[in-house]
């Protein structure tokens, strides 16, 4: 009697709990968690592979020389390790890319978010994204074989020099970041509340005025994020830069009409050359890679900040 009542009590409490400890269930969730941490390990591996060779590198090259000298000639006789020329190369590419991509990207974004009917916008956006999805080898070859000669025919008075051109490389990189800038800016402008627009219309403002003085300023943090993300993407672009800007001189150059060596192109070029592992020349790959990584990390962090800001305001 007492034992049976005890059982029934136990049964009733048991029914509120799980039937079993569900070890399988816990194992699966643990496995999923472990899988998710792989991406963290990937980041750690990136940081280690970039920064581990650096103490060795900077024991032979002084940091001051690395950041201030104006000649970058690893592998040459009397090699100099001043990273500035290739940093300037990268920054020039970014500047030209933004000069092309900001007007084209923002123009497309304003058209899509403010002017185009929903149907048109829905068709245009994926088509525009094709530009970003094209393999960069294709875009680079097009820029080298067609765009560069075409621009030379169009502007024959410009001082073109050799087959490579930093400016054209920047323009080509600019083309592939147009969809990114357009997409982020379009999202930012469409998240501006309708009420702001309609208030302005009610006061008699024209569409142009509403767009430029209401929507654009209200979406500015998202638009800045779009531009910074575009710049970050341009910093990291390799194949187009390698194909179109080629290999520049080891010295500082600000001439967009000749080739230049950018950071990504230097890394790709060095890694494909025949150099012995463990030499100081080989370690330049990691030093330049680390700098590149830090540059994109910084720009991405800035972009994320700006994105968060516009989300906060209107969500």
């Amino acid at each position: 009697m007492s034992s049976s009542s005890g059982l029934s009590v136990r049964n009733s409490t048991r029914s509120l709990r799980a039937d079993s400890p569900r070890i399988g269930e816990k194992l699966i969730i643990t496995a999923l968690f472990m899988g998710s941490t792989i991406s963290v390990f990937a980041t750690i591996a990136i940081v280690i592979s970039l920064f581990a060779p650096l103490p060795g590198f900077f024991s032979q090259i002084s940091i001051v020389e690395f950041f201030t000298a104006t000649e970058w000639s690893p592998g040459f006789q009397n090699a100099k390790y001043g990273v500035l020329p290739i940093v300037v190369g990268t920054l020039m590419i970014v500047a030209f890319a933004l000069a092309v991509a900001v007007p084209l990207g923002l123009g497309s974004a304003i058209y899509m978010s403010e002017y185009a009917p929903v149907k048109v916008r829905k068709t245009l956006k994926p088509i525009l994204e094709v530009l970003e999805g094209l393999p960069t080898v294709a875009t680079g070859l097009f820029a080298f074989f067609w765009l560069r000669p075409f621009l030379e025919i169009l502007f024959p008075w410009l001082p073109w020099k050799g087959v490579f051109s930093t400016g054209v490389a920047g323009i080509a990189v600019g083309l592939i970041i147009v969809p990114l800038i357009a997409s982020v800016a379009d999202d930012a402008m469409r998240s501006v509340p309708r009420a702001l627009r309609e208030g302005a219309y009610a006061l008699g403002a024209s569409k142009l005025r509403v767009t430029l003085t209401i929507v654009f300023p209200a979406a500015i943090s998202g638009i800045i994020a779009a531009i910074v993300l575009g710049a970050s993407r341009a910093v990291g672009e390799t194949m187009i830069v390698l194909l179109v800007a080629g290999a520049g001189s080891p010295f500082l150059s600000f001439n967009p009409f000749e080739g230049i060596k950018a950071m990504t192109a230097f890394i790709a070029g060095k890694a494909t050359g025949e150099i012995a592992v463990g030499t100081i020349e080989f370690d330049t790959i990691f030093a330049v890679g680390a700098l590149l990584f830090l540059m994109t990390l910084l720009t991405n962090a800035i972009a994320i900040r700006f994105v968060e800001r516009y989300r906060e305001v209107y969500d």
């Binding site: 569900r22 269930e25 699966i28 969730i29 999923l32 968690f33 899988g35 998710s36 792989i38 991406s39 963290v40 990937a42 980041t43 591996a45 990136i46 280690i48 592979s49 970039l50 007007p103 123009g107 497309s108 058209y111 088509i127 525009l128 094709v130 999805g133 094209l134 393999p135 960069t136 080898v137 294709a138 070859l141 097009f142 074989f145 067609w146 083309l175 147009v178 969809p179 024209s206 142009l208 767009t211 970050s232 990291g236 672009e237 390799t238 194949m239 390698l242 194909l243 990504t264 890394i267 790709a268 890694a271 494909t272 790959i285 990691f286 890679g289 590149l292 990584f293 994109t296 991405n300």
Partner: protein, 305 residues
Amino acid sequence: MAIGNNVAVTAAGAMVNSRFKKTAGSGQAASIAFMTALILALTIALGAIIAIIAWAVVEGHTRLDWDLIFNGPSTARRATAGYSVAIAGTIQIIAGVILVIVPLGVGTSVYLELFADKSKWWNRIIELNIQNLAGVPSIVFGILGLAIFVRFFDLGFVVAAGSLTIAILVLPTVILASREAIKAVPSSILEGSLALGVTPWQAVWKQVLPAAGPGLLTGVILAVARAIGEAAPLLLVGAVTFVTTYPEFFEGGYSALPVLIYNYAGRAQMEFQVLAAAGVILMLAVLFVINSFAVWLRARYERSW
């Protein structure tokens, strides 16, 4: 007084009129100019796509033959050289990529969307980390592959190293797309099945994942499309050698389609430049098929809950 009033009224009226007309008139012209500029921007961007495709077709169409697919690279027989070895390399790379990203990408998204407690710092770190990983330049993944897969794990310059490198590169893309697909499944599906007494994992496996299936597949397909076109990281993990033999996954030099295109394009002979353009056509055709499939899949299985 009355006259003064009249004057004032007329003056004000004239001023308003002139103002209004002026802004209306010039506003209209400005509006038209502005809209023209916007459409021009869009046209240039879309024109660039057409120009790139046109370049490949115009320069490369003469080499669209079976040799392009079935012949290997050769410096001796330039007119009939092709991409067979590189195609084999790319197929093996993609197979490895799929093997890695499907479990890892989907698993991570399931964990983050359905199981992770967002208030725990380690889960927030995982999220933040994926966001940052998505912004790391592809060439840096090449350095990772070189240092970790080629050297540390001592795989050497083989397909496996290239495949793992590309897999990690596209992993954030897959995770972001998979999370969207899982998010699109209404929570009532999950809650309904939980209410019927199944375990959380049974609800996820039997209800949420099948419902999110087409979206998950689309994400994987788009990641594969991106992986096919990636060349930069492969330059660092050994895909550059001018190999003429088919690769094995863990052994032997290899090449990949975009890398061999780059290699051909850098050669002086005209035949190779035509071959590079023909290779671009081939790659674009493959990407077109893949992307069309993804679009079709999305349209066919898109459900509104």
